[in-house]
Symmetry: C2
Subunit: 215 residues, 2 copies
DNA sequence: ACATGGTTGAACCGACCGGTACAATCGAGA
DNA sequence: TCTCGATTGTACCGGTCGGTTCAACCATGT
């Protein structure tokens, strides 16, 4: 009705509307009629494209997870060619990651994942495998290069990546109350700055050299 | 029927059974009849003690959050009188915290909180205020003492506490897939060890002295 | 023995919702 | 213009569940 009555794939509109409604109501409380309305489509059309409410949920979650992952991987790009000041590039990357993590759809995705873990165990594989795990791997790759280049001092790039992400996400989650409170951008920047500070304090090459020369 | 037909407060059994069933099914899918069965009680008895399914949920969550918080605060005790080796006491405390965090009830509490954030905004205040926030505050108090005693080098005890908790919880959450996978205790210990290592690398007094003397 | 108040089982009401059936309609290609 | 497939609105079925009612049932205090 409200949608442009074109040939644009309704499937996309359905999946998008489905995620919106699932995010708003949760799986059980979301009724298919509301999803159909949100997508500007009749209820039978929904069942025409997706057989089940469950498979509708699965596909919507998968699509959302995919789009979220792409954004996050793109945010790591500056680390492949960091400027002379490693600290500011790490702060930038951290800021970017934190901003993506605080995004509404990202928060909704995590909430839904947490919520329906028990009912849809297979979704965990889809989302988490293509989510934090892939991100951590990609970050570890970048950090490994930096270690080899002598700009970081760490024994285990995987652990370093895990810890950097933890220093970013942990304080963010604590402050944002699971995405309820809106956080203004300067506070996000402050979180990223603090995380980069602690991380470089622990893994920065200069600090390591200082420690070694003092022994 | 199966329960001892004593005068023991049924209210407690109801709240406990309610949390169990909510954890198992989620809020919407949990039917009151199953809660009554779990508590060994008739359905009208449930409505006799708690007026509503919603208030039942609220009270069950509050009770669970309270018990979880108590355990976590108790785990901080060794930090008030740390032995000569700060590292091992921090590893112990971290191990204890991580083990509590990985507990089934604790995971279920977080899952339910995440899941029903939208429907019960007031629960967030109850749980999060008496949860991670209080824990972070208590930890910050302990760390402040250690800073004054010259055993840690940090400018902001609140931030240090936030970062230590992040280094513990973040990797745990990543590895445990939101509490789905069971983690064996030696892996928990390894997580705590790594967290304490990075934390002391960044905030340890010896490292700081080394850095200063090298400048 | 008697009264009282919480407890029990069972049945019941009303609402909601997933999924389907069906007839009417629309849109594009021949 | 005609036809075919997808889409639409609507109505319906069946099941589930929150919440209530009610009669019977203890267990206690007097």
């Amino acid at each position: 009705m409200a949608t442009a009555r074109g040939r644009i794939d309704k499937r996309l509109a359905i999946l998008d509307g489905a995620f919106t409604v699932f995010a708003r109501r949760g799986y059980a409380q979301a009724c298919v009629q509301e999803i159909a309305d949100e997508a500007g489509v009749a209820k039978p059309t929904v069942y025409n494209h997706l057989t089940d409410k469950a498979t509708l949920f699965r596909h919507a979650m998968q699509a959302a997870a995919h789009s979220v992952l792409d954004q996050r991987l793109a945010a790591l790009k500056p680390l492949t060619e960091p400027g002379p000041d490693l600290r500011t590039t790490m702060e930038e990357v951290g800021h970017h990651l934190v901003r993506l993590h605080a995004d509404d759809r990202s928060c909704a995705l995590r909430r839904l994942l947490y919520a329906e873990l028990t009912h849809f165990p297979d979704i965990l594989d889809i989302v988490v495998e293509s989510g934090p795990h892939r991100l951590s791997q990609a970050l570890a790759d970048r950090l490994a290069r930096l270690i080899l280049a002598g700009r970081l001092h760490a024994t285990n790039p995987d652990q370093a990546a895990e810890h950097f992400l933890a220093l970013l996400i942990g304080p963010l989650e604590a402050r944002s109350q699971m995405g309820t409170r809106q956080i203004d951008d300067t506070e996000l920047q402050e979180i990223a700055r603090a995380a980069a500070h602690t991380f470089l304090q622990a893994f920065g090459a200069e600090n390591a050299k200082a420690r070694q020369s003092a022994e």
